[in-house]
């Protein structure tokens, strides 16, 4: 079993769909934050087969976690204090997500009018499906 040092204060984002960690790293803007980050890719998982994990040594105020549900609705967020998990959270699924997800449909108006905000609405809470408010194409997380 791969082992990364225990963090004392921060969060562990677990059960990320395998291959999705770097996307979350970028969306949380971690490359521009002065925090310790460990990214574990393709870790073995009984539930998922393979999964990614991100460990972040930072306080919650430094991170915008609301967006995580839109990026991967199956992940879990563990809050760590003094080296132990004090809370497990399932991500929220915001009704509207503005300027985080990008519509990839080449036929969408956002592909030619660069000034338009990219806006997605939640259309299927059970499956975490978001659709572009303009062309209604579902957001493809792959």
């Amino acid at each position: 079993m791969l082992n990364i040092g225990v963090i004392n204060q921060g969060i562990v984002i677990d059960h990320i769909q395998a291959g999705g960690a770097m996307k979350i790293y970028h969306y949380l803007d971690l490359e521009n934050k002065d925090v310790s980050v460990a990214i574990i890719k393709n870790a073995r998982s009984n539930k998922m087969g393979k999964k990614d994990i991100i460990k972040i040594e930072a306080t919650l105020e430094d991170l915008d976690l609301d967006i995580l549900g839109a990026l991967d609705h199956k992940l879990t967020i563990n809050i760590i204090e003094n080296g132990v998990i004090i809370e497990k959270r399932n991500p929220k699924l915001p009704e509207i997500v503005n300027n985080v997800l990008k519509c990839k449909n080449p036929r969408c108006i956002t592909s030619v009018e660069q000034g338009l905000p990219h806006s997605f609405k939640l259309t299927d809470r059970a499956n975490g499906v978001y659709r572009c408010v303009y062309c209604e194409q579902s957001f493809d997380r792959r």
Binding site: R107, C108, I109, L116, E136
Partner: protein, 304 residues
């Protein structure tokens, strides 16, 4: 102020009102020949469309109103790089209502966000074309007398055909509707329609590749064209384009009161020999398109 971007922007009762008004217009068009005097319709057509544009223009002229606009992006300020949002803000000060067709999906929705006049989506790429759906519904209601208790067959390109997706979405709101979806494997209805609309709503449907076998069960047959512009590969288009051709022989297996609809233009998926069959109503359907647009313009301008 209301905009019509998707066919489901009207509730079932609003849609019923629209169709009732359309039927009043069919019964007595002269009564409505002057109700829009002094009003202007702007037709903002960023891609060519003879049928839809003329239908909108005829509708406004029939109501005694006037029409202005452009019929291709080349002849508009879009060629200079103007955004849809800016164009509609300017047009809002020239006209009372506008119909917009755009090759990019969602462009009419963008227009509605910035417009101070009602916006009607006249087709946005492969996405929505609500006035075609209203036309289809009026045709069925006026000629069948009902929009419930129907077995509706869709035949041809069910994958890319936006008229098919829109009409399915509109019909599932009525009682006791079932569908027979007739297409080659490659052009089946998209998964989101099957799962999010049909299965989620417990709507009975079957998928088949066999038009002949489906014919006797149908109240409505909605034929569609296999569209060349939707294929990346010419070989696939050529292989699939003639896969269903409705002819007299197939019509012989259908009920005597079945109706054949088609959004037009047709290529060869309906043999011309079928045109004289009283069940072939696609040209009447085009005429109903003008009536339903007249009713829609009146409703959106609140002239009723």
């Amino acid at each position: 102020m209301k905009h019509i971007i998707s066919p489901t922007d009207l509730t079932v009762s609003e849609l019923d009102e629209l169709l009732e008004l359309s039927e009043e217009i069919i019964a007595n068009p002269k009564k409505f020949s002057d109700v829009c005097r002094g009003k202007k319709l702007a037709t903002l057509f960023y891609e060519p469309s003879t049928r839809t544009r003329l239908s909108f223009e005829a509708a406004m002229l029939n109501l005694g109103g006037s029409v202005l606009g452009f019929s291709s992006a080349d002849s508009s300020s879009a060629a200079k790089g103007e955004s849809v949002a800016d164009t509609i803000r300017v047009v809002s000060s020239y006209a009372d209502i506008c119909a917009i067709r755009h090759p990019k999906e969602g462009a009419p929705y963008v227009a509605s966000l910035y417009s101070s006049i009602p916006v009607i989506n006249a087709g946005d790429g492969g996405h929505n074309h609500p006035t075609q759906t209203f036309t289809d519904l009026l045709t069925i209601k006026n000629l069948k007398g009902r929009l419930n208790n129907l077995c509706v067959g869709f035949c041809g390109d069910l994958k890319f055909g936006r008229t098919v997706h829109s009409l399915i979405n509109a019909l599932v709101r009525y009682e006791n509707i079932s569908f027979i979806l007739i297409s080659p494997e490659e052009l089946r209805v998209p998964e989101y329609i099957r799962k999010e609309v049909l299965e989620a709503g417990n709507i009975p449907f079957e998928e088949t590749t066999n038009l002949e076998k489906a014919m006797p069960k149908l109240d409505i047959l909605y034929m569609t064209r296999v569209q060349r512009e939707r294929f990346f590969n010419e070989e696939d288009y050529i292989r699939l384009k003639d896969i269903y051709i409705l002819d007299e022989k197939k019509m012989a297996a259908a009920r005597s009161d079945m109706l054949v609809l088609h959004p037009l233009p047709r290529v060869n998926e309906i043999a011309t020999e079928v045109d004289s069959d009283p069940r072939a109503v696609y040209f009447k359907q085009a005429q109903y398109g003008v009536y339903v647009r007249m009713a829609l313009i009146m409703k959106l301008l609140e002239i009723v």
